[in-house]
């Protein structure tokens, strides 16, 4: 039997106010195996920890139960404490009497009783604990960044700066992401291209960075420090090494009616294309959906005009297999589809545009060369209505948009309004808002400038409908402060569409075994304390894949993710989790049930000699678990009909002992 010490924490009044800690310690001191039980104000404080260490040494404790906050909070702390006193850290169990007792049960008698039961369960478990020793695995000193927007670029640059090789996998032909499509950036109004393109070039030229553009993640296996990733390099039908990016092919390509996604479909491009002038890598790509040669076999002009002989119609998708120690997700966002908001006539009139389309219409490199013209008749608009919160802040049951605030729309709308008024002072600009949200350095000042200096009409209210009529857009809206309904004949309407995670994020999350929230944003390991890490070890988050963000926030998070990656990659070895599956080879019958459910391929089989009856030797097929690969999920333990497979730290008997203690 173990010699167990029980330490009940008050957590100040957090626990002590609703749990009689003294009674808990007293009751638990009577449990078999318990040689010491006490209570203290803050077990996690230095003096609390000192007390634990002292008692371990003084009483020769072989097990420790701490009744305190959630093990997710301080299990690691107390394990370290005990380890420093010479006790194996896995001889510690936590009874969660704060989150699961004092914070949820107001009645002190009820809370105390439950705390005692949880304490008993922990004691019952410790009785069966065995010292566990963690294994070590080496770290592959290379990082993978998925997504080549500003987030991915910044993360890659920072990791590369620390001297570690980084691969950026970007699904589009060029890195740059959404930021490359923007015109100016708030609140300083500097040009997006001017600040982004140097970074793209840096990334392209950094010897530690390899850009795998036009590529996607096919499969991810392994675990922190040792990921095996398969990357699909989609056929771009152009040899990246040979292409000089001269653009001759684009000039000659006869297929010129391909909607230009870089310009949000507002104009067309050719079938062989470089998305934009500053693309990195500046390499042409053939759009297989439109290329005449690839679809009909006739044409081949680009190949003929290419002086570098870079065009290769026979190119196939390739699968690249690489090893990484860390993976950063930077998959970014997209504006939502506006099809469910037809009251704004988005599909009825080309003059109703989304903000990102408006961004392109204002951009000097955009379809209109930077002159603001109505898409329908290419005339200059004189009245523009901006509608905020389109698809953001919706009720879930409305099933139209997103529940969250998209965060960036207020600011970019102010920017759009301001820029419009600056360039075209003869244009009347109306902004319909629900709230103007400007928390950020210089943000509210920026918004006030739009109102005060640029005379943008901010109207508290919402547009109810937009009807295209006689070349105008009849906007019907409410002005809540005036308590009247207003009607505006507008030339253009700009919708601040909500943003959502890129569609590729959900399948990627499954491959990475990283968790996501209901909106498909990646979940962070801790919302406050570990905002750039995924709960899955070795997976890090950068940019809007984690939640809506503006550029400065994205860059900050990108740097943070990079620093986390670096602190992982500088390690030569990682100490593993010793709570792994362990087969009892005397019981194992080698049926392969466990292998079939192992998501990590951690289980193999071996033919082993065993002593049989009457001095015979039997060769039996038995399961072998690789503890470095096993992540300790326990799927195999249930699949095993013999009960031969067990999970260290969460063994069948330990869990049953907890059940018994709780149901007693």
């Amino acid at each position: 039997m173990q010699r167990i010490g029980v330490f009940v924490c008050w957590c100040g009044s957090n626990i002590a106010a609703t749990v009689d800690v003294e009674a808990v310690a007293d009751a638990l001191s009577k449990e078999p195996g318990v040689v010491f039980a006490t209570n203290y104000q803050y077990m996690c404080s230095k003096s609390g920890q000192d007390m634990i260490r002292e008692k371990i040494k003084e009483l020769g404790l072989t097990g420790v139960v701490i009744c305190s906050c959630s093990p997710r909070m301080h299990e690691a702390t107390f394990r370290k404490t005990c380890e420093s006193a010479g006790l194996n850290p896995y001889m510690v169990e936590i009874a969660n009497i704060r989150e699961q007792v004092s914070w949820v049960h107001k009645d002190k008698a009820v809370g105390t009783e439950k705390a005692i039961i949880l304490g008993r369960a922990a004691i019952a478990k410790v009785q069966l604990n065995t010292p566990l020793i963690a294994g070590q695995t080496p770290v592959t000193k290379r990082a993978l960044v998925i997504g080549g927007g500003i987030a991915g670029i910044q993360t890659a640059l920072d990791i590369a700066d620390a001297g570690f090789p980084v691969d950026i996998v970007e699904k589009n032909p060029t890195i740059g992401g959404k930021m490359a499509q923007l015109d100016k950036t708030f609140p300083t109004l500097d040009c997006a291209a001017c600040i982004l393109t140097p970074k793209m070039v840096d990334a392209g030229q950094n010897e530690n960075i390899r850009i795998l553009s036009y590529s996607e993640i096919e499969d991810v296996k392994g675990y922190i420090g040792n990921f095996d990733v398969k990357i699909r390099r989609k056929a771009r039908y152009v040899d990246e090494e040979k292409c000089t990016g001269c653009g001759t092919c684009m000039e000659k390509c006869p297929m010129k009616k391909v909607p230009n996604e870089f310009n949000m479909g507002l104009d067309n491009r050719t079938a062989i294309y470089i998305p934009f002038a500053q693309a990195v890598p500046k390499v042409a790509t053939i759009d297989a959906n439109y290329c005449l040669k690839l679809n009909t076999g006739k044409c081949g002009i680009c190949s003929k005009v290419c002086l570098a002989d870079a065009v290769d119609y026979e190119q196939k998708d390739e699968i690249l297999e690489e090893k990484y120690g860390a993976i950063v997700v930077a998959t970014g966002f997209n504006p939502i589809s506006l099809e469910k908001f037809d009251e704004f006539a988005y599909s009825q009139s080309p003059d109703v545009v989304s903000s990102l389309e408006f961004e392109r219409l204002m951009n000097a490199a955009g379809p209109t060369g930077g002159t603001l013209l109505r898409p329908s008749d290419k005339t200059h608009p004189h009245t523009i209505v901006f509608v905020q919160c389109v698809g953001s802040r919706c009720d879930a049951s409305a099933e139209k948009g997103k529940e969250y605030c998209s965060k960036i729309c207020c600011m970019y709308t102010a920017k759009h309004a301001m820029l419009t008024r600056e360039k075209y002072p003869d244009t009347e600009v109306y902004v319909f808002y629900i709230d103007v949200r400007t928390p950020g350095k210089g943000f509210d000042e920026f918004y006030r400038r739009a109102v005060e200096q640029y005379n943008v009409h901010y109207i508290k209210g919402m547009v109810g409908k937009v009807v295209p009529e006689g070349g105008k857009l009849k906007v019907q809206a409410s002005d809540l402060l005036d308590n009247r309904q207003i009607h505006i004949d507008a030339d253009m309407v700009v919708l601040a569409a909500a943003i959502e995670p890129d569609k590729s994020a959900r399948p990627l999350a499954t491959k990475l075994t990283a968790s996501m929230d209901t909106n498909d944003f990646f979940t962070e390991a801790h919302p406050k304390l570990r905002p750039v890490e995924s709960p899955t070890a070795g997976i890090f988050l950068s940019g809007t894949c984690q939640g809506p963000k503006d550029i400065p926030e994205t860059v900050a998070q990108a740097g943070a993710a990079a620093s986390k990656v670096i602190s992982l990659l500088v390690k030569d070895n990682l100490v593993g989790n010793p709570c792994v599956a362990k087969p009892d080879e005397l019981m194992c019958n080698g049926c392969s049930s466990c292998e079939k459910v192992c998501p990590y391929g951690a289980i193999t089989y071996e033919d082993k000699p065993f002593r049989g009856p009457n001095r015979t030797t039997l060769i039996r097929r038995v399961a072998v678990v690789n503890p470095a690969v096993c992540q300790g999920c326990g799927a195999c333990t249930v699949a095993c009909p013999s009960g031969a497979m067990d999970l260290l730290g969460f063994s069948n008997r330990q869990i049953m002992a907890e059940v018994d203690a709780i149901c007693k």
């Binding site: 009892d584 005397l586 019981m587 194992c588 019958n589 080698g590 049926c591 392969s592 049930s593 079939k596 459910v597 089989y605 039996r620 097929r621 699949a639 009909p641 013999s642 009960g643 031969a644 069948n652 008997r653 049953m656």
Partner: protein
């Protein structure tokens, strides 16, 4: 049939293809055949029997037999064949050491059925077409063969031998409309109280003799969890109602997806507990929820409990289904 099989067995021995033959040995009566290993043609001539009472599924014996020196000949009936393949999938038997002879089969008889028909003191049985002529110490009786069939033969799911080196008789086909789930459906249609009463009346008779487990080809564990003192649930007797339920639920769960529905558990139960109804419930659920699956029908497929699709039914489907009348 017996003559052909004996001839084949002797031929295999004499040609040196195998050095022993696994078969059925004559007993005191015509019906009490015992699985046995024959090593000489003389033994086969004398004691080898194949009759309507050769129902025992002998594939489990191959676990040990296939690990011995030399090749063993085994006669595989269609239902044994599924266990034979399933055991190969589980790496329990060494296929190279077995010469498998598939047998076409049209049903095996059960002494229990004959006795329950009120025929006592049976001393002989003769097959006369569809009728059994039964000699007893109390005079001669007759019985239709179909009424004396084993439960699993009444609802024969397949007459196909999945894997063998040669066939005696013509290989048959699967029959998915064999009605083997009718009894399960009947139970499902009852109210929970009725079902509980039914199973209590059945399982309360369990004497935990382990016959169901020991005969089961899927129960091939080195040591069963119920025998393993370290498992935390070891029990030698069903000392409470719970333990009766527990043993049978866990056993059914452990063989779920691997159980070929050979029906041996029900055949051997000395208390005549319809244990196959537990296994069939799992099979029926798996078929309905995850698509048809027959354990041992092939060498590749994964049992449904070791597989998944992202669109699987939620456990709450159970609340919506059946039994709330």
């Amino acid at each position: 049939m017996q003559a052909v099989i004996k001839k084949k067995a002797i031929e295999l021995l004499e040609s040196g293809t195998v050095n022993r033959v696994l078969g059925w040995k004559a007993g005191e009566f015509f019906y009490d055949l015992t699985p046995a290993v024959f090593t000489t043609p003389e033994q086969i001539e004398k004691d080898f029997v194949y009759s309507v009472f050769s129902g025992a599924n002998m594939s489990k014996y191959l676990i040990d037999e296939s690990k011995k020196e030399g090749k063993v000949a085994a006669f595989i009936k269609p239902c044994d064949g599924y266990s034979f393949v399933q055991l190969q999938k589980e790496h329990r038997i060494v296929r190279e050491n077995i010469y498998a002879v598939g047998l076409a089969c049209d049903g095996m008889c059960d002494m229990r059925e004959i006795r329950e028909a009120g025929i006592k003191g049976v001393t002989s049985v003769e097959e006369d077409g569809e009728t059994l002529k039964i000699g007893t110490i109390y005079g001669e009786k007759t019985m239709a063969k179909k009424d004396a069939l084993l439960e699993r033969c009444v609802h024969c799911k397949s007459k196909k031998v999945v894997d063998c080196d040669e066939m005696i008789g013509e290989n048959g086909e699967e029959n998915r409309d064999c009605g083997r789930f009718d009894e399960v459906e009947k139970l499902e249609a009852m109210s929970p109280d009725e079902r509980f009463a039914f199973w209590r009346s059945q399982l309360s008779r369990c004497i935990r003799c382990n016959a169901c487990r020991e005969v089961c080809p899927a129960c091939s564990c080195v040591k069963c969890v119920f025998d393993n003192p370290n498992s935390g649930i070891a029990q030698k007797a069903a000392a409470s109602d719970f333990e009766e339920n527990n043993f049978h639920i866990i056993r059914a769960f452990h063989v779920a997806g691997r159980c070929t529905d050979c029906g041996e558990c029900s055949r051997v139960c000395p208390e005549h507990i319809p244990l196959h109804l537990l296994n069939r419930k799992f099979i029926k659920d798996m078929n309905e929820l995850y698509g048809f699956y027959q354990a041992g029908a092939d060498f590749e497929s994964k049992p449904p409990v070791m597989n998944y699709t992202t669109g699987d039914a939620e456990p709450s489907i159970v609340y919506a289904r059946g039994g709330d009348k």
